[in-house]
Structures are given as C-alpha cells and as structure tokens.
C-alpha cells in the first residue's frame, strides 16, 4: 500500500509538472507561433539555478563542484531558478526574435540547447558536469517526517496548486487582447506590425513567459527528485513535451493537459514496465521514442488540430439586424457572399 501510494504520488507530480512544461510551450508555440526546439533546456536552467541557490557551498573534499552554493531559503531559490530560466528566454529572444523568421529561430533554439548541454556537461565546475547535482535541498522536508509518503503527498498538493495557478494565468492570457495579439502574430506577424503593434515586443513577451513557466516546472522537478544530471534533460525530453502539445491540441490549454496525460504519463510510464533486454540496454528507451514519434505522426495525419482543437472565440453580443441577409441588390442570386461567386 505504501508503495502504491508513493507511486501514485509520483505519477501525479509527473503529470502536474508536464502540464506546466506543455502550457509553457503552448504560450510560445500555440499562442505566438514561436518554434522553441529546446524546451527542456529551460527546465534545466530553472532546476540547476534553484539547486545552486538553495544548496550550501560546495564541499570540495567530496569532489562535487558547483557554482554559488548560497544556501538561500527554498522559496527565494525557487524565484532565482525561475528568473534564470526567464533570462535565458530573453537572451534567446534577443538573438532570434528581432530579425529572424520562425524557421531560423528554431535553429537558434536548437543551437542554444546543444551549447548549454555541452557546456553544463563538460564543465564540471558549473553544475558538477555529467554526474549532475544531487542531495538538493527539498522543501517541506522538515515538516514531513511522520510517514514515508508524507513528503510526496505534500508535494502533490504543492505542485497541483502551482499547476492550477499556471493554468488560470494561461487561460486569462489567452482570452485577453494580449493573447489575441499573440495569436494574430502567429498567423501573420507583418500584418500585426502594420496595424501599429510592436510584434517583436509581444513575441518577446510570449517567449519569456513561456520560459518562466517551463522554468517553474524545472524547479518543481528537482525539488521533488532532489537530483538532476544531463542524462535527465536530453533532446528526447524536449520531444516528449512537443509530442504532448501536438497530440493534445495546440492553442488550447485543455489540449495541453490531455496531451501530457497521454504522452508524458501514460506512454512514458507504460514503457517503463517493458522488461529490459540485457544485451541491448538502450532498446527500450529508443523504442519509447519511436512509439511517441509514431503517435505524433498518426495524430498529425488523422487529427492535425490535436485531440482537443483550439476553441473558436465567441463573444457576448447584442444581435444586429443583418442588413444584407438577402444578398445585395443588383447581384446575381446568392450574392457575392456565396463562396463560389467571388473566386473569379
């Protein structure tokens, strides 16, 4: 029973954090059309910076090296992690959003991801290189001492509340005039500019907001597990977040949730229980990527809008009398407004 309860808690935390990742990406891609192909780097930034702000100074005799080690209280360290991830988003935005079209932006994000991965992995003075950080201070540990699963369940509530806040925030943003501008930019950036809006600024906003949200998910991840190494944030992980968004349905946060349930929780977890093949230790993880890839292809083929498509906007309105319900005087039957008539 204890084991099952612990497992369910972990599943729920995974579900909530993936929701947060996917909502972050949704604001960038689903709202504003920004192709961020290194979502997971922002997760790592949030996690690592949380860690080095919350952990005490590195004890060099243990051969573990990392920067800072400020031993801040966890809420402040959490803020630091989030700011770091947002700052990375701003930096990438400065390089890529000012002049480049979206396909080049995608390349810049990929390059950023590879650069950060190589730098953090190979340089063991930053975040302890390939071995990564462990024994990272977790919140609530001092109060959760009575029961083995107590920490896990406190964390379920904690991450659930944060997810809820992110969800409410994302939905308000979507419905607001700012969200509408973002979606218009997704459709045609130049036109938005030519109507007097600084589309660079709006795209930057989407980029940074998305990065901040993914960073929040990163902080939660390392708070729950207490450790993170580069093996935990490979390119494949970015792919899982993208797959969740595309399968679930972009530009709809409900789709983000359905997608992270389907892809990140069900598929990712289910494949964990396929027995390992001893002679091919990489077979199962690779197979997992193949399966998720297949799922993305199938969903794009059969349901390009995702399981939960973007909702059509509707407004409270006072109905008008349609002046031209009968078409226009002097026009051929059906009028100019019958779809075929004006194609000429």
């Amino acid at each position: 029973m204890t084991l099952i309860l612990g497992y369910v808690a972990t599943l729920l935390v995974t579900f909530f954090t993936y929701n947060i990742f996917v909502i972050g990406l949704n604001i960038q891609f689903g709202y504003a059309g920004i192709l961020n192909f290194t979502v997971i780097t922002f997760m790592a930034f949030g996690a690592y910076f949380y860690a080095v702000f919350v952990m005490p100074h590195a004890d060099n005799s243990s051969q573990v090296f990392y920067i800072l080690g400020l031993h801040w209280p966890w809420p402040l360290a959490m803020l630091a992690g989030i700011v770091a991830s947002g700052a990375l988003g701003y930096l990438v935005g400065l390089i890529a959003l000012k002049r480049l079209r979206s396909d080049y932006l995608a390349i810049v994000t990929l390059a950023t991801g590879t650069l950060v991965y190589g730098l953090f992995g190979n340089n063991n003075k930053l975040f302890d290189g390939w071995s990564g950080l462990f024994n990272v201070n977790q919140p609530f540990q001092s109060v959760a001492t009575n029961h083995p699963n107590e920490f896990s369940w406190i964390f379920v509530v904690f991450s659930g509340v944060i997810m809820l806040v992110v969800w409410l925030f994302a939905n308000r943003l979507y419905a607001s005039p700012l969200g509408r501008s973002m979606r218009a930019i997704r459709e045609d950036q130049d036109v938005v500019d030519s109507f007097g809006k600084n589309s660079f600024k709006v795209r930057m906003l989407a980029m940074v907001i998305g990065s901040v949200i993914v960073g929040i998910g990163g902080v939660l991840t390392i708070q729950y597990i207490g450790a993170l190494s580069p093996a935990g944030w490979t390119t494949g992980e970015t792919f899982v977040v993208w797959a969740a968004l595309l399968v679930g349905g972009r530009a709809n946060n409900l789709g983000a949730i359905v997608g992270s349930l389907l892809v990140a929780v069900i598929f990712n977890e289910a494949t964990r229980y396929i027995p390992q093949v001893p002679s091919h230790p990489n077979l199962i993880p690779n197979l997992r990527n193949v399966i998720i890839g297949g799922l993305v292809i199938l969903s794009i083929w059969f349901r390009p809008q995702g399981v939960v498509p973007e909702k059509k906007a509707s407004f409270l309105e006072v109905p008008l009398v349609d002046k031209y319900a009968q078409g226009f005087p002097g026009e051929e039957p059906g009028g100019t407004l019958s779809p075929a008539a004006s194609e000429a």
């Binding site: 979606r183 030519s194 906007a313």
Partner: protein, 262 residues
C-alpha cells in the same frame, strides 16, 4: 491648396540589380482619394511598402503631416494613423472574422501584460464595446453573418472585404490600398468602391488607391499619380492624363486605351 498629408521625395530603392523605385516624388492632399496607377512592375507596391515603412528606401524621404518619418518603424507610423492593406489578402486565417477586426484596434487596456492579468473587468467591458462596433462595420460590409467563421475559410472576394473592414476598424487617417479590387467580381468592385467613397466622405479618411481598373479610378478618384519604371511620370485628373503622350505610351496605350474609351 489643401494641406498635404503625405509627401514622398526622391525615393530610390533597389533590390539587387532591379531599381524598383528610381527617384520618385509626389504628394497626397488630405481628404482626397488619389489613384496610383502604372504598368506591372512599375514599383507601385514597393512604393506602398516604402510609405508604410515595411521597406526602408536607399535614398529619399517620406513625410507624414510635415514630419520626416523615413526612419520610423512601420508600427509607429501605423500608430499615427497611416495604415495599409496588401495586394494579396493577408487575413488572420485561424482567427474568426470578428477577431480579425478586434485585434487591430489600438490602445486596448488588455494589451499589456499587467492590463491583461489585473484589469480583466476593464478589458472585458472594452471588448464588449469593440464587438458591437466591429459588428456594425461587418454589417455595413455585408459580412455580419460570417462574423464567427474562421477568416481562412472565406472566399477570395470575402477576404478582400475583410481586409477593408479590418482597416476601417483600425481608424485610419490615411489608408493605402494595394489593388483592393484585384480578382473580385464586378458587383463586388461596385460595392468596394461605394465603401471607399463613403469612408472618405463620412470619416474623412484619405485614400491612396493602387488600381489597374481605370473605370474604378475614373469613378472614385479625384487625382491620379502615374508611375512607370520606378519614376513618377505624371499626375492630374484622368481626363488630363488621357491627353498626355508619355502616359499614353507607358500605360494607357494598347488595350487600356480601348477600355477607357478615349
């Protein structure tokens, strides 16, 4: 002489080896409807892009309300009331027709992050007012019953109407229309022309109209600027231009002359 709202002076712009605009100057008087005509490739669309700030010219100046705006980004020019439409319809395809209009109104409370998050009551109210205003405009353009369609699903002619309705929603003072009547039925041409004249009379919008159809030009434009090979060739009323040999050679010659019937 009426005050000129817009002046272009000595504009030059080359794309690689192509001198799309080659020392072109003219001015537009406030409150008028001016046609910009010329053969294909004369540089009309390029000029619209230079005026609206999409392209920066190699040389020359764009002057709006007596102020040099040559180095001003396009979105700031638009904030001064200088708006344009595109030769090929560029609707926001996955937004509804109504949303296409809502999005272009400037100065909404919920456009800043702070406003969007913390002044929801205010922008919800404002959106309600804008919806009513947009519906009125859509009704005038005969698009009312299509308001909740995705703009991408409309026919070519309907998209031209959305393009114009959207520009109206943005409250322009000077509106550049790049071939608004290209590829639409005669009945629709009639209506678009009617709308343009109405907007000019009732709201005082100044128009610059790039147009190949000289019947339309004759009907609604008080003055015509002719461009050829990137230069301003002549300007005046269409009647005056019909007797201008250079214009006849460059543009009105051939098929066009018969259509105009001079």
């Amino acid at each position: 002489m009426a005050k000129s709202i817009l002046e272009v002076k000595g504009i030059k712009l080359a794309f690689g080896g192509v001198q799309a605009i080659d020392d072109c100057s003219f001015h537009i008087e406030e409150g008028t409807i001016t046609a910009l005509i010329g053969p294909n490739g004369a540089g009309k669309s390029t000029m619209v892009n230079v005026i609206s700030g999409t392209y920066r010219p190699d040389e020359g100046h764009v002057i709006l309300d007596g102020k040099d705006v040559t180095r001003m980004p396009n979105y700031v020019r638009a904030q001064h009331g200088l708006l344009r439409t595109f030769q090929i319809s560029r609707e926001f395809a996955n937004l509804t027709v109504l949303e296409n209009l809502l999005v272009v109104r400037q100065g909404q409370v919920g456009e800043s992050l702070f406003g969007a998050l913390f002044r929801a009551k205010r922008w919800q109210e404002q959106t309600k007012e804008l919806v009513a205003e947009a519906n009125d405009i859509l009704n005038t353009f005969g698009l009312y019953r299509l308001r909740n369609e995705y703009a991408g699903n409309l026919s070519g002619g309907q998209k031209r109407l959305v393009e114009l309705a959207r520009a109206v929603m943005a409250k322009p003072r000077l509106l550049l229309l790049d071939e608004p009547m290209a590829g639409v039925t005669p009945a629709l041409i009639e209506r678009l022309g009617h709308h343009i004249v109405e907007l000019n009379r009732e709201l005082g919008v100044t128009f610059v109209l790039v147009e190949h159809n000289l019947d339309v030009v004759e009907k609604i434009c008080s003055r015509v600027v002719v461009m050829a090979l990137g230069k301003q060739l002549a300007d005046g009323t269409l009647a005056e231009l019909r007797s201008n040999q250079a214009v006849i050679d460059a543009y009105l010659g051939g098929g066009a002359r018969e259509r105009v019937g001079s």
